[in-house]
Symmetry: C2
Subunit: 216 residues, 2 copies
């Protein structure tokens, strides 16, 4: 199995964090998004959207989407479980992972892709057709990041990890979502003590700290 | 178990389709979104975002997010599998389900929520704080729906169902995504014969046809 990735790509980082947490190592192949290697024919043959991460199996089958890749790896390597163990735990990980993505990651992405100059005409990830940036959507993203931080803090006032009592995929998506907001100079407020406690605990994990790349 | 739903809510419809496909019946409790019953305290206690669907277990535990609910029901009722059987099949259902949501459903939602008058100041589903509609985002949604239709047709030229050879959750999300586009008067073009063949086959299923509600 080979994993196509790029260190600065947030969804690829989710898989890297997952691998470290699982104690797994795969052949890693870097696809330099800044040099547009993802839009070359060789890579588009593996993923027509030109996005990373992509997991290529030994028979050439390619799986895209970070969540699908992680769940596949979990099925082959169940321990430690990062998607929950019982049906209810799994449902809560699933649900909270989506909250992290939809409350946090997507608003961060809206803010970033609609304000960074290099995406002015290609504002939607995974769409090669020209799509113009929308400054008002960048603003909405900034507004929604504040709502995300507040909700995250409220959740983490109740439980130690995003999905409950265990570290899970939802924490991985959560930390990647918080780090996305740094790209638009938004930072988890110091006053949100529960979210801060969690965020610091995340960075005590080698999986999270070793995969962080400063990027704009 | 009780399912809180509203017939016009697309994510709730996904669960209704899923239940019919599984031959399951649950106690259904309607939450009238048009009368804002979802923002009353009794419902907010079950789901602070005020969204449907919500699955309430006998002990009072509530699960939100249609995908999390469906996966939970699949764990308790494995047959027929709607999330795939092998790890690879599951990964492909997962991945294609996301493509249907991100390529199709979200652009449709962008187009709808940013143009419908009643959402002018509450343009983001599941966010009760005022968020203004962005007309340019509605336009972007319309542009992206065309890209979605084209990609869907290309996929269905290769395989009979969205995730491959079997009907799955990805078809459910796909048909709900296509139906979302009708709300903004976009219709799957007749010229896209593969997508049309699939869409007609979907409506031959009782699960899909019996849950369709005309709505704007």
């Amino acid at each position: 199995m080979k994993l196509y990735y790029f260190p600065k790509a947030p969804h690829a980082r989710k898989v890297l964090i997952f691998l470290v947490e699982k104690g797994l190592s795969l052949e890693l192949i870097q696809v330099d998004l800044e040099k547009k290697e993802n839009l070359k024919e060789a890579f588009l043959a593996k993923n027509s959207r030109g996005v990373v991460p992509v997991l290529e199996l030994d028979d050439g089958t390619c799986i895209d989407e970070s969540l699908a890749i992680c769940r596949y790896l979990e099925a082959l390597n169940p321990e430690p479980p990062l998607f929950g163990s019982t049906p209810l735990e799994k449902a809560l990980v699933d649900s909270w992972d989506r909250h992290m993505e939809f409350d946090g990651y997507l608003p961060g992405q809206d803010a970033f892709r609609n304000s960074a100059e290099r995406f002015a005409n290609y504002a939607v990830a995974g769409v090669q057709e020209p799509v113009k940036a929308i400054p008002a959507l960048a603003e909405r993203g900034m507004q929604r990041i504040d709502i995300f931080f507040k909700r995250l803090d409220e959740r983490l006032a109740e439980v130690p990890y995003v999905a409950g009592t265990q570290f899970s995929m939802a924490d991985i998506t959560g930390v990647v979502a918080v780090d996305m907001t740094k790209r638009v100079n938004k930072f988890l407020p110091e006053s949100l003590e529960h979210a801060q406690r969690w965020y610091r605990a995340m960075y005590e994990r080698e999986s999270v700290s070793s995969t962080y790349v400063v990027h704009k």
